[in-house]
Symmetry: C2
């Protein structure tokens, strides 16, 4: 076990917290609930951003930026939205400080009170739809396909690094459409983008579905989501895409003239993923020795470590190391050659295991003689001796293999931890073990809340393309025509 | 003149405001002093970010993210800093809203008052140095070279799109060093990075120098800056890089152990550029027909417009247009083929002139016959007929020429508007005309403020590598050993 990392078995939650801090991903700040994302963690987030941003642009979206502050009155305009969001939030009431009479401390200047309080955005539907009113007159102005990369604030009482923080970073897409069908198609398309990203970049299988009325986004008619399973059997909502109907258009009076000259309200979607994905990435793949990063999101994909006893040997090894580094970089692989003489190889091995670097190459004088290198993969911890011939090609192939293997392992885990329960007793037993439990439910919020109350399990989603199957609600015995996915969740 | 754009001669300030709005760069929001950066404007900002971010990384910096909120007490720790920043800022005092007794409006929940108010960051030295205290123990932990891309808020009474807004986007570098020399070297290196960026990407010549004590960043020992000249003869501070000495290390108790085992305070720099650069870009190069964008920052570098009378002609022209587009894109040139049939070519010509697209290619049936295209460059408005052979190579070359020409024009403008004044009368006359006026000054804040009071001119900088030259202060007659650059400024 690496550097005093708690093991997953001993305390999963502590293991997570230890790992995030020790692997230099993030730390708590002195501002309650707010984190500092450290360079290593931020570089993973940058890779996520780059991949997502490319996919957003390929699907026709542009980035823009809207104000951080939202006038309080905007929230009152969409009734369900205010209940969901405006309550627990940071409120700006003043715009000036002054030196206190003691001449030392500074205090709020009471004469600089805002006429209307400003809310630090918890999400931007209101401020954006207030702008869209002026941008949209005719069907020719539609669709509007905009995304924003931003920070948002939701006042949280209990926070955990990445998973739930008062301030977090995210992207929020906000689109406007002429028809309901087009808006629904957009919401589903973005769910597909999130799914592709989770699968192909994060190596994370997800369950795709819609939320129940009770779990829906405040202001949405339908919330599509991707749900992932963590190693402790708890589910994590990894991304959501909302079909908002005409709710925000009505709240902000956004109408357009159709081709036929009629006035209609505009249809909307919004969709987002956040730095929460960093938490999902850590919790889905990592082990008791540290991070396990899928190569596509690893800031350092290959680390080369020289093994030597004296300067002469180091010079010999370095020559080859530098050449291999250049060959790998020519293939677009990011490589670090760690030739620091302040640390021993064993220390470095542990360090890069902790940091989740997918491939480690060790080169010693003996390797130079035999034209070999020792290659260790992080995911399986296997070590092999490679001939140096075509080394870049071999490593490129190995990185693909690792990406696939991490994904496959996660798929196997999800499959092995997706259960079917027919009775409430079975359900309670399975939920205790963790994983998704597929069960019949009568479709009412009342039953959903009672189950949550008794078992701490929530309906994660009603799976898309679900098999229709007649059955009876495990709690009330009322008829049901499909199973839904329950789990305890982050 | 394009689309009711005010001319620069008639009202430069109105021209700027019109252009920013009509070219779809940005608009005022309903939140006082905050702007909405629209997709076209944001895509220019993304190009700026990408170029700068690459240069930051090439000079060894990593990105990270620190909290939006700063506890009020942090500001009291660095005395000069609080005077400069903490006074005009957004203050968060509460963390919850509730429904008012009327059941409709929402109001601040007075029971949810923060024990200590939080300030929305106007700049992040305090929160970052509070973190660095825990990150730095030994000389081995230094240097720390971090940059942050973020939004910041400074409560401004009079705002102008991009140039001065309550919220703006920027990057702020914050570095920590073992020695004074290393910190000064870093501050100067980043000034070089900004200079290169301004010259090579923005096509903007800048005057490089240090600020006077009076104009220095609050908390800095030395502020390096780049100053650019706008077409109305006013200067604009385009970027600053600060040598902060040990001020923040002392305020936040950040010490390190030297190789020799001694405890020393850490040395600091910070440096930043913001969305203000968008304003500089517009004001430096654009004309009465719209934006003039340097190709390296233009979201669309080439627009292709078909000229046709019927569907058959359009089909004919489109075939060639699409092929040319593909050839240009192979060279990494961003191209838009605007084949909309809702607008006439003339309307499109004006539209892309307004948007500052560097090169316009028009293709008609006659061109297809003769294997030519009509090429118009935005900067000089020259039109030429090009043979289609090697068209991509020719356009690539033309884009380079345009980039160079825009820069050269700006350099000529700066040279033609940099004057030397020996007497105060001369100075007042020249300042009235606009431009930089190089004059002797006695080095005191008192004189500096008196000149500002009487002429509205400020000392933009004491140029780096300034020629030493004995003279006498134009106002007080006291001795001076170099001229400094005065100007009226944004």
């Amino acid at each position: 076990m690496a550097k005093d990392l708690t093991s997953r078995k001993d305390n999963y939650s502590q293991w997570y917290q230890d790992l995030v801090v020790k692997a230099d991903l993030a730390e708590n700040s002195d501002v309650k609930g707010c984190m500092v994302i450290k360079p290593y963690g931020y570089s993973i987030w940058e890779k996520m951003q780059a991949a997502l941003d490319k996919m957003f642009k390929e699907t026709g979206h542009s980035n823009a930026y809207f104000p951080l502050f939202i006038p309080k009155s905007f929230f009152s305009k969409e009734a369900s939205h205010v209940d969901g969001f405006a309550k627990e939030c940071a409120v700006v009431t003043h715009y000036r400080l002054k030196t206190a009479p003691d001449g030392k401390t500074i205090i709020v200047d009471e004469t600089a009170k805002l006429e209307e309080e400003l809310i630090v955005r918890p999400t931007s539907e209101t401020i954006i739809w207030n702008s869209y009113r002026n941008w949209i007159q005719s069907y020719r102005d539609l669709p509007i396909l905009i995304n924003q990369w931003a920070n948002v604030v939701r006042w949280e009482m209990r926070t955990r690094l990445f998973l739930r923080t008062t301030e977090f970073l995210w992207q929020e897409g906000h689109t406007a459409h002429a028809t309901q069908d087009e808006a629904i198609e957009e919401a589903r398309k973005m769910l597909d983008v999130y799914t592709t990203f989770a699968n192909q970049f994060m190596a994370l299988p997800v369950m795709r579905g819609t939320k129940t009325a009770n779990e829906r986004f405040a202001g949405a008619l339908d919330t599509y989501c991707i749900e992932a399973l963590m190693q402790d059997g708890k589910a994590l909502q990894a991304g959501t895409s909302h079909f908002l109907g005409q709710n925000f258009a009505k709240a902000f009076d956004v109408k357009y003239t159709t081709k036929e000259g009629k006035q209609e309200f505009v249809w909307a979607t919004s969709w987002g993923v956040s730095t929460r994905l960093m938490g999902a990435l850590v919790m889905a793949h990592s082990d008791d020795d540290g991070l396990v990063l899928p190569p596509k999101l690893a800031p350092i994909q290959v680390v080369i470590i020289p093994i030597y006893k004296n300067d002469e040997q180091l010079a010999l090894v370095s020559e080859t190391a530098v050449r291999i580094k250049a060959e790998l970089e020519k293939k677009g692989i990011s490589v670090k050659y760690d030739n620091r003489d302040t640390q021993k190889p064993g220390w470095k091995f542990a360090e890069y295991e902790l940091k989740g670097v997918p491939v480690r190459i060790a080169i010693g004088p003996r390797d130079i003689e035999e034209q070999t290198v020792e290659v260790a993969r992080r995911d399986t911890k296997e070590k092999s001796v490679y001939q140096m011939t075509d080394i870049a090609l071999k490593i490129e192939h190995l990185l693909d293999q690792i990406q696939d293997n991490i994904y496959k392992k996660a798929v196997d885990f999800q499959n092995a931890n997706t259960f079917v329960a027919d009775t409430y007793d079975e359900f309670k037993e399975l939920i205790e073990k963790g994983g998704f439990v597929m069960a019949h439910w009568d479709g009412t919020t009342e039953t959903e809340l009672k189950i949550k109350d008794e078992t701490k399990a929530t309906i994660r989603c009603i799976p898309l393309n679900n098999k229709m199957e007649n059955g009876t609600c495990m709690l009330t015995g009322k008829p049901s025509n499909q199973r839904v996915a329950f789990a305890r969740a982050y």
